[in-house]
Symmetry: C2
């Protein structure tokens, strides 16, 4: 939080922090025009959700942490909005779970890739993938399919926060365990996920890190029990109910 001078006690702290980081993202060439519109869509869904982590999302964040700890090769996919909003937080999650960070953009330009990689390194990332782009996700057009052969292409568990629906579906068809963070439970991305997390990335990523740190004391059998307990359909239905009704679950 050292890059922001908003007191945590401020009633609109989270909202002001988000605004500040998105503006900085635009200045640094990290956040795109489409990213700003997507940010607005997220704000509206979060508003209806009550700007809080609902119980079903908390359970999804715990299951996601268990998946990451069980994975052979977990990768966190980072786009412009994720880099702008939670750069230090994704670095911490990667460290807590042994995951790679890979920059992956819907509107890919070499300049934005480099700006995002630099931003992540400034926030403590030792290694950032996504620059080689030497493999393709099947079923997507050339530019949007680009991934690293030793990154997302090889991953068994991949976290895709704020992902485009086409790519979320194509990744799901590669038989990866896909963890999606998206505030719209009806989106194709959320629907394609093994673990859909219907929460703001600002809250979801630190929560996943906290769960991962707590679950590290567990053995694989206990982690597999947490994963087996997770119900995708129930999670999506609970989130939709929370958004529609405006009530707690």
């Amino acid at each position: 939080m050292s890059d922001v001078e908003v007191p945590e006690s401020h009633p609109r702290y989270e909202s002001l922090l988000t605004r500040h980081r998105i503006e900085a993202g635009v200045e640094k060439g990290i956040t795109s025009q489409q990213g700003l519109i997507a940010q607005g869509r997220g704000e509206a869904f979060d508003y209806l959700l009550g700007e809080r982590t609902i119980d079903s999302a908390e359970a999804a964040e715990r299951a996601a942490a268990a998946h990451l700890l069980l994975a052979d090769h977990p990768v966190l996919s980072i786009n412009g909005n994720v880099a702008a909003l939670v750069p230090g937080e994704v670095v911490e999650l990667a460290a807590a779970t042994g995951a790679d960070l890979e920059v992956n953009l819907f509107n890919r330009t070499e300049q934005r890739i480099q700006a995002i990689a630099k931003h992540l390194r400034e926030h403590g990332a030792e290694s950032v993938k996504g620059l080689a782009a030497d493999e393709r996700i099947p079923g997507l057009d050339h530019e949007r399919a680009k991934v690293d052969a030793d990154g997302i292409y090889d991953a068994d568990v991949v976290v895709v926060p704020l992902e485009d629906g086409d790519r979320a579906q194509a990744l799901g068809e590669m038989d990866k365990t896909e963890i999606v963070i998206d505030l719209n439970p009806l989106s194709r991305s959320a629907q394609a996920a093994t673990v859909p997390i219907i929460d703001n990335v600002i809250r979801a990523i630190p929560n996943m890190t906290a769960h991962a740190r707590q679950l590290r004391a567990h053995d694989d059998e206990q982690l597999r029990a947490i994963v087996a307990d997770f119900d995708t359909e129930v999670t999506l239905a609970a989130a939709e109910q929370a958004i529609r009704s405006g009530d707690s679950e």
Copy 2:
């Protein structure tokens, strides 16, 4: 529609048209960074509303048209997103109701004011107010309070599409009849309105024009009956219900 080459038969016609116009708005310096985020918030609410004009919004558009025809001095307040999304449509509504067009920005810069006025003139506006800025709305800080003495300040009926909550409230306190177009029925702008229209401006403005043309055959007594029939609370409740339930009213 001459500026866009999207066939009207396309299933995503409205969405593609919107995207095209917003992008053009950014290129022309009309749409701000905050405008892009606001556009995204609107998209999310419209998505939940089913991207259609619900019956209660249609009734509000008719009541708004009656208010405009009864007005001594109606004014349409135009911000960056409205100018980008419906430039020709607001010119048509102004012509159909004898209203003035006044550029009014939350983040006011001389450059954006001029770009928007030019854009409106390119879409057929003969006169555009908002450049004099020689009066103030009471209760707002200096920059955000600026209006034209012979425009919004003098108006008895004002249409504020996509208005900031603070300014919508301050205008309401000036005893004007305030017609707000906003996709969030819980927003302070919608709550402050005499006539809240919970609809996409892309649909609302042409609908208001169609109603105004049809209502021009009515006398003042008939128009006053339409205005008297309109119920603000019922309208807001119906829209919230439509968004929450995902069903028709």
